[in-house]
């Protein structure tokens, strides 16, 4: 019985989502996708630079992948909605990663605007995966708003600092009946494995792979780490004795 999970009606086997930013060459992207096993790949929508002809990123993403445009650049719900609609109209499918950032120092998401955008886009039939600061009440509201998954950050975007929000993410995993996908901040395969051991449904990795010395090898390492972490989660961790046994029993009085 293969371990799969569902988002927006699509059954996925790979629990590693791959971001395509910061690669030194777009030609590395299909190789990294293959090496990691990723089935969901994120892209961004940008104004073209009229002075400088760039390549079309979509051409480098293998055809069997789900393309998930993000709404990066959006500073409020309205802008995120506009970007999502454009991406869908451009033939990008109906998945969208909501990313609303008004803070340029830490690039932390604006949860309030994210909820608003999620509500609008879910009602329009998008498969909405909101990137958010881990907060239980916000996650509940996102679920109510129709999100297909919730993507809390592990640490600030691109920081490679690992799972700094562990305790808060754990609460989301325990309490929210949607896939929890740790997005942002994971710097090493071991950190991705840690998120998976906790019961995250998937992780989204970009910087740690794209900026590695050998991005393709790092993509493979992350793919394996995510698999290992998931297996460990499914296996159920063994017991750890938290406390020594006390001597006078609390239940010694029970005789019947």
């Amino acid at each position: 019985m293969e371990d799969t999970f569902k988002i927006g009606g699509r059954e996925l086997t790979s629990r590693l989502f791959l971001g395509t930013g910061k690669f030194s060459s777009n030609r590395l992207i299909p190789e990294a996708v293959r090496a990691s096993g990723a089935q969901v790949v994120t892209v961004a929508l940008r104004r073209i630079d009229l002075e400088y002809e760039e390549e079309n990123i979509a051409a480098y993403v293998p055809k069997d992948c789900i393309l998930m445009p993000n709404t990066s650049g959006a500073r409020n719900a309205q802008e995120a909605v506009r970007i999502a609609r454009l991406a869908r109209a451009a033939g990008c499918g109906n998945w969208v990663k909501i990313e609303v950032i008004t803070d340029n120092r830490y690039l932390l998401p604006d949860n309030y605007e994210t909820i608003k955008a999620t509500e609008i886009l879910a009602a329009e039939g998008f498969v909405v995966l909101p990137y958010m600061s881990p907060d239980l009440m916000v996650a509940k509201k996102l679920a109510e708003a129709g999100a297909a998954a919730v993507m809390p950050l592990g640490a600030p975007i691109g920081s490679n600092r690992g799972l700094r929000t562990k305790e808060l993410v754990r609460i989301l995993i325990d309490e929210i009946p949607l896939p929890i996908i740790v997005d942002a901040g994971l710097g090493r395969p071991s950190e991705a494995a840690e998120a998976m051991e906790m019961g995250a449904a998937a992780v989204l990795v970009n910087t740690a792979i794209a900026t590695a010395g050998d991005p393709v090898a790092m993509a493979r390492a992350f793919g394996l780490a995510v698999k290992a972490g998931r297996l460990a989660y499914l296996a159920g961790p063994g017991e750890t004795q938290e406390y020594a046994r006390a001597s006078s029993p609390l239940t010694g009085f029970l005789r019947d």
Binding site: L136, M137, K140, D174, E175, G236, P237, G238, E239, T240, Y243, R245, A246, P249, L250, T251, F253, L254, R255, D256
Partner: protein, 366 residues
């Protein structure tokens, strides 16, 4: 999705088969987790878990101290009226029992309130039988008005209401609801409630949701132990509490595990629930819902209650009386026999002796 629908999803679940498959290892795995699923909870309620009772007790005690501190909230019940149109076969107040029916007048409510307030208690639970004719919502509201002068928290344990009626009572000063489903098994429920509005299983089951939507601050649910298999009843009570906590994150949810006591009419419990069973239920619930309240009434004997202080209990009644007007010398039949007759002062002393503090006033709406 209402809890009625949640409950339906477990219809036909093979509890016997599940319990037969639970090993001590399975129980220990549940014990080692910080967040238990309902299946972990069910494993802790299984016969196999009896072997791990002391370990469960250690963890339950630790969790309770961690989340609540060494305190027990004290409250007392005040019976306003015993008129009842239901015929619940197990209840001393049922319509076809011959006993003196009584309803407190405003002056009598005032007198009872004064007697209770003199003991220092600030939390009170008011009860009536089910009779919209004798004890309408307007009557409850009048009583609440009087009681507000004496108490900071008023809970109701009355017949199920409409959402708007709950809102009306909340506006009048009620902040807590206690309502026992009595039996979560729908077939057994139908058997035990042969006549009266209480026959409506679903309306009663969804009452806590209506109260929460109306803005109730605390809700307390429970199954009456002794009417049906206690393990499955405990499971559904816990599931109900967990559902309410998930659906209404800002509400304080607690359960009661009341065991049947002798009462007028002499109905005998169908199932024996011994002390060990009661303790196992409390511990399993504490591990499943570390922040859930556990209310222990004076149905339990003093010696046992003293032990339950350290086994997950968070609220206890004291100086109880289950007869209408009983405190101010009115002689009438109580709903059931109480077995811990200690006064509030005696209960407080017992708590201090164990290194616990009695809490008379937990909070007050400002």
């Amino acid at each position: 999705m209402s809890f009625y629908e949640v409950r339906k999803e477990y219809a036909g679940f093979d509890f016997k088969g599940f319990f037969a498959g639970v090993t001590v290892d399975r129980v220990k795995r549940a014990l080692s987790k910080s967040r238990l699923t309902e299946w972990d909870y069910l494993a802790l309620l299984s016969p196999a878990a009896e072997e791990c009772l002391e370990e469960m007790a250690r963890k339950a005690h630790r969790l309770t101290v961690q989340h609540f501190g060494r305190v027990i909230l004290l409250y007392t019940p005040l019976y306003l009226a015993n008129y009842c149109v239901n015929r619940c076969v197990y209840c001393g107040f049922k319509a076809n029992n011959r006993l003196e029916r009584k309803k407190l007048t405003p002056a009598e409510v005032e007198r009872e309130a004064g007697i209770i307030a003199a003991t220092g208690l600030k939390h009170i639970l008011i009860l009536t039988g089910e009779s919209r004719r004798h004890s309408p919502v307007s009557y409850i509201r009048e009583c609440v008005k009087i009681l507000k002068k004496y108490f900071t928290s008023i809970s109701i344990e009355i017949y199920p209401l409409e959402e708007s009626e709950y809102a009306e009572l909340i506006a009048a000063g009620v902040d807590g609801l206690t309502i026992y489903q009595e039996v979560y098994d729908e077939e057994v429920y139908a058997e035990l409630h042969p006549a009266g509005p209480k026959r409506n299983y679903r309306y009663r089951l969804e009452a806590p949701e209506r109260a929460c939507r109306a803005g109730m601050r605390t809700v307390n649910v429970g199954a009456l132990l002794g009417l049906h298999d206690w393990r499955t009843e405990a499971f559904f009570t816990g599931l109900h509490a967990s559902y309410l906590q998930d659906t209404f994150p800002d509400v304080e949810v607690s359960i009661s595990p009341p065991r049947m006591r002798p009462q007028l009419g002499g109905f005998q419990p169908r199932v024996k629930v011994n002390d060990k069973d009661l303790v196992q239920y409390m511990l399993a619930f504490r591990l499943y819902m570390p922040r859930g309240g556990i209310t222990i009434s004076t149905r339990e004997r003093a010696e046992l209650r003293d032990h339950l202080v350290r086994l997950g209990a968070t609220k206890m009644s004291a100086g109880s009386c289950t007869a209408v007007g009983g405190r101010s010398g009115h002689e009438s039949t109580g709903q059931f026999e109480i077995s811990d007759g200690r006064s509030v002062a005696e209960m407080a002393r017992m708590l201090y002796d164990q290194g616990y503090q009695p809490v008379y006033k937990d909070w007050q709406m400002i």
